[in-house]
């Protein structure tokens, strides 16, 4: 058997205790290599700097570019029995398929990105437009990430959610204006979720487009809440994938690991400690209602409401706009 596999992933997805069950069951050690950014992961694969990773972690909405770049190995889904328990939304997604119709990545962990806010200061539940409201000048923050920030601005200026990731050049120009107008209202753009947690904790920011992490971290210490804007909730989803260059002898173990990520052990530990849900329904019914609510699996329709951030065709134009906004 393979003595060790290296899993490149987010530290929140891969605490050492999340994988002990796998190690016990297979005798293979899982070495964690934490990502510093999605882009760094892609660049590492692209430059060959990732040759020592055995399993990688593309996000659902970026999987396509890994596939197009030929960085991933086509997967034999028959080797992952737990796929059977996967929620349909994830089963159905086309984003993990190549032009050849083969599947290259398996979604395994998901969540939603709410607005986290100080409920003592925002007496009304914020919407995306709150993030553009001069009343809160100097207390707001956006993520330094073109895809989500531009889509939010689009929603704010009234573009319907179906088209939020499919903007025309004219619409992009409008969005850009809104984002530039928003700049003076912002305290800062946040870079990482730890960063934002700190900003909220220190009172610098009272409402921001966020992940759930600050809420979990701060809810016992100050009045914070999560808002899931009606205009459209941004979801996220991380995938399992195997680099195209993985040596033959490790592939079997990699499949076993994929199956583990969709299995019960991983799902229950991460639900318990990290407040995340996997893409598998395997343990959902065994969870308490409170826990179900906490990880958003109490009402599965939430998945229908998700806006899956998706790199648009004219993504480079988006990036340009975003860079122009930041440099403005």
């Amino acid at each position: 058997a393979v003595s060790e596999i290296v899993w490149a992933t987010w530290d929140s997805n891969g605490h050492p205790e999340y994988v002990t069950a796998f190690e016990k069951a297979t005798g293979t050690k899982v070495k964690l290599s934490f990502l510093s950014s999605e882009d760094a992961q892609f660049a590492a694969l692209k430059t060959g700097a990732a040759s020592d990773w055995d399993v990688v972690n593309p996000s659902l909405n970026q999987a396509r570019r890994y596939i197009k770049a030929g960085e991933l190995m086509p997967l034999d889904l028959a080797k992952v029995p737990n796929l059977a328990h996967m929620y349909d939304v994830f089963k159905a997604t086309e984003k993990v398929k190549g032009e050849d119709g083969q599947t290259y990545a398996i979604p395994y962990l998901w969540g939603l990105n709410p607005i986290v806010y100080r409920s003592d200061i925002h007496t009304e539940e914020p919407t995306y437009s709150t993030l553009f409201d001069p009343k809160f000048k100097g207390q707001l923050a956006m993520r330094d990430y073109a895809l989500e920030s531009i889509a939010i601005a689009a929603l704010h200026i009234g573009i319907p959610r179906e088209r939020a990731f499919l903007l025309t050049s004219d619409e992009l120009a409008e969005v850009k204006k809104a984002l530039i107008a928003q700049k003076p209202l912002l305290r800062t753009y946040w870079q990482t979720i730890g960063d934002l947690t700190n900003l909220i904790a220190t009172g610098e920011v009272t409402a921001a487009f966020s992940w759930r992490v600050p809420y979990d971290a701060l809810k016992d210490k100050m009045k914070v809440a999560m808002a899931k804007p009606k205009a459209g909730i941004m979801g996220w989803c991380d995938c399992f994938a195997i680099p195209a260059s993985l040596p033959e002898e490790k592939v079997e173990t990699a499949y076993k690991f994929a199956d583990y990520l969709l299995g019960a052990d991983y799902a229950s530990t991460i639900a318990e400690i990290g407040n995340y849900a996997t893409t598998s329904s395997i343990i959902r019914d065994k969870l308490t209602p409170e826990k179900q609510e906490a990880i958003f699996v109490d009402d599965l329709s939430v998945m229908q409401n998700f806006m899956w951030p998706e790199a648009p065709e004219n993504y480079s134009e988006w990036l340009k706009v975003w860079n122009e906004v930041k440099a403005a």
Binding site: K68, A69, L319, A327
Partner: protein
């Protein structure tokens, strides 16, 4: 051929050519490529350079890098000289300790230090709390954090030790008797500084300036985490183009343009400093 001192340049040059120029050559090549579907296509295309040439944002950020490098250099020079000169006055036995004390702050990881600054400068932070406590201000000073001021302050902080170190080692070489001679001839300490110590330490100042300029023009984390909405940098843009946008040709072109610009400014700066009346005679001696 017998060995000569100048031949020591050879291994160093080889290291730089192999480790730095060769990779740069790769970038030059990339800058003429095309990208299609996340794939680099070798094509002799001027697309990236054309885009760069017409991009206001890119040049704005390159200019900002230069400006940031220069202002940090100026601030660290102004603060660095008194500290470096004070260090030369320490007893020889205290100097080893001094170098450790001076450099230790830099051993802390940058990220952790950045968060320490947030605590110091934040709206509910140390400075504001103290100022409010003693009644000097009513409202917290918001500009302390997430502003160009913050970037300037922290870049100065991050680079001050390098500048001090460079000026210091250079100032140690200034014969104290020359300062005495200047004082004897009527120079106040400030005159002795400007007319004797400064010219004789220009090599150190040049070394420090290059260091600080290079480091601060290339800073990414501090501006982006402490600069608020004014924290955009050319470095971050290069990263963004490489990673997020996967526009390697444009990223390469921008990186090369940035390098060339910084290079020009740095050479001009070094040239200027070393051409100062005094430095030339000093250096001519070698």
């Amino acid at each position: 051929m017998t060995f000569r001192q100048r031949h020591l340049a050879l291994p160093v040059a080889v290291a730089i050519v192999a480790g730095c120029l060769a990779p740069l050559a790769v970038l030059v090549a990339f800058s003429f490529y095309e990208v299609e579907d996340f794939d680099l296509i070798p094509a002799f295309s001027f697309r990236a350079w054309g885009e760069l040439a017409t991009s206001g944002t890119d040049w704005f950020l390159i200019g900002k890098a230069v400006l940031s490098g220069l202002t940090t250099t100026v601030f660290t020079t102004i603060l660095g000289y008194p500290v470096a000169l004070a260090l030369t006055r320490l007893a020889a036995s205290a100097k080893g300790l001094a170098i450790i004390v001076l450099l230790t702050p830099l051993y802390t990881g940058e990220i952790v230090r950045i968060y320490a600054w947030r605590i110091v400068l934040g709206g509910e932070g140390l400075v504001n709390t103290v100022l409010q406590g003693i009644g000097l201000i009513d409202e917290p000073l918001k500009f302390l954090l997430f502003s160009p001021f913050t970037i300037g302050l922290v870049l100065t902080y991050n680079n001050l030790p390098f500048m001090v170190l460079a000026i210091w080692v250079s100032a140690e070489m200034v014969d104290r008797r020359l300062i005495e001679a200047a004082r004897d001839l009527g120079a106040r300490p400030i005159d002795a500084f400007s007319r004797v110590v400064f010219p004789l330490t220009t090599p150190g100042l040049a070394a420090g300036s290059l260091t600080v300029f290079a480091l601060s023009a290339g800073e990414l984390l501090t501006p982006s985490l402490l600069g608020g909405t004014s924290g955009a940098t050319a470095m971050a843009l290069v990263d963004n183009l490489f990673g997020t946008a996967f526009d390697w040709p444009l990223a390469s072109a921008l990186a090369l343009a940035l390098l060339a610009t910084l290079f020009l400014v740095a050479s001009a700066m070094a040239g200027l400093l070393l051409r100062l009346k005094g430095a030339r005679a000093v250096i001519g001696r070698t």
